[in-house]
Amino acid sequence: MKYFYMKYVNIEFLVEELHEMDLSERERHHLATLIDLSMSNAILDEILSNLSEIDKKAFIHLLQEDPESEYLMKFLNEKVENIEEKIKKAADDLAKQMHEDIKQSRRIK
């Protein structure tokens, strides 16, 4: 599943923003973990929302078996039309919200 993350999630601009903020190493790490966890959940939600109950179970089974398997994407492509675009949009939407959050936090004195 790292594949999903690398291929569809663009966090470069979030990372750049965090880099410029006055944060300790632990604070930066904590915020970065929250980005990753939220992204993961958002992508999983998008995937599961497009699958039938039976296919959800099959997908979760495949994911547990081998999270790096290329078959995961093949499986999704067979079941859902334009799944790659859908995943990318879900990730982009969340990234934009988080980017807004960062901008907002910078205005706080």
């Binding site: 599943m1 790292k2 999903f4 993350y5 690398m6 999630v9 966090i11 470069e12 979030l14 990372v15 750049e16 965090l18 880099h19 903020m21 006055d22 944060l23 300790s24 190493e25 632990r26 604070e27 930066r28 790490h29 904590h30 915020l31 970065a32 973990t33 929250l34 980005i35 990753d36 966890l37 939220s38 992204m39 993961s40 959940n41 958002a42 992508i43 999983l44 939600d45 599961l48 929302s49 109950e53 959800k56 179970k57 979760i60 994911l63 547990q64 081998d66 999270p67 790096e68 398997s69 919200q97 988080m98 959050d101 960062i102 907002q104 936090s105 910078r106 706080i108 004195k109």
Partner: protein, 292 residues
């Protein structure tokens, strides 16, 4: 979190993102019922964050995820104990006999061939002081932010920065599109070693340059036994630094040397891996071999 901060911008983000994370988790839980609960409770979402290539695992050589680091420290600690009686108290080059004894021990423990020389070529020493290096540019147009596969990766390794110059062998790939998973791993787990001090280097520059390029080495924190398989991707450090080799931010992290002065004593031996079977990354001694 256990720590407290007075930074309002941090507090704002922390609260907002924690709430969002909880809300997303709740959505998974409620919207997808049984499967969602399974995902939420089992931490399956975390599979998206794996930073080590599980697909490259060998049966006997297990790469570790971040959460396994502490455990790895314990299992490899037995190796550090075994090395105690063999290693000198001062940081000096090992004698041929010491090198032989240690390379045999390491080969037996890890289950692959660890040696100080291959084809008669080796470094000038195999026990010394490692220092933390910066990231390297992997292709023209690369930047620090692109080195992270996810935000946690970046938070952990990004602060090391990126070296202004290229590694001794130039870019790892000609373009971003050409950058393979292998290239990425070579940069993540790279070493800078003093190739220029290797016996015979001056007389055989081209041969040695080719020999050392991406040569796999086993690096071991002599105090804790934490170990990493890394690839030689740069030459250095200079003799005057007092250090004998350098490790990428990831290498230093998995050796347990990323904090404080970012240096420490390590053993570093060549790995004889002609068929490219040993994966790069942190490495754990298989339990059945640990008993030897």
């Amino acid at each position: 979190m256990l720590f407290k901060t007075k930074k309002s911008h941090y507090e704002h983000l922390r609260k907002k993102w924690t709430d969002r994370h909880k809300s997303l988790q709740q959505t998974l839980f409620e919207k997808h019922k049984e499967v969602g609960r399974q995902v939420a409770l089992s931490g399956l979402g975390g599979l998206l964050l794996l930073t080590t290539p599980a697909a490259n695992l060998l049966p006997e050589v297990q790469l570790l995820t971040q959460s396994q680091i502490d455990k790895e420290k314990d299992t490899n600690a037995a190796l550090a104990e075994k090395l105690k009686s063999t290693l000198p108290s001062e940081i000096r080059p090992l004698t041929l006999e010491e090198e032989q004894t240690i390379s045999e021990l390491l080969s037996a423990q890890f289950g692959f061939i660890v040696t100080s020389q291959i084809q008669g070529i080796g470094l000038n020493r195999s026990y010394g002081l490692i220092g933390g290096e910066q990231h390297l540019y992997r292709y023209p147009g690369d930047n620090l932010y692109k080195h992270a596969d996810n935000a946690t990766d970046w938070a952990m390794y990004g602060s090391a920065g990126i070296a202004p110059g290229l590694g001794a062998w130039g870019y790892f790939a000609t373009s971003e599109a050409q950058l393979s998973e292998k290239d990425k791993l070579r940069e993540q787990y790279y070493l800078a070693v003093q190739t220029f001090l290797a016996p015979g280097f001056a007389e055989n520059v081209a041969q040695y340059r080719d020999f050392f390029k991406y040569r796999k080495m086993l690096v071991i924190n002599s105090k804790t036994g934490q170990s990493v398989v890394a690839a030689v991707a740069d030459a250095g450090p200079a003799e005057w630094t007092g250090k004998h080799l350098g490790g990428s931010p990831e290498v230093m992290h998995y050796l347990g040397l990323a904090q404080g002065p970012r240096k420490g004593t390590v053993l570093y031996f060549l790995i004889d891996d002609p068929n490219d079977k040993i994966p790069l990354g942190p490495v754990k001694i298989p339990e059945r071999l640990a008993k030897i």
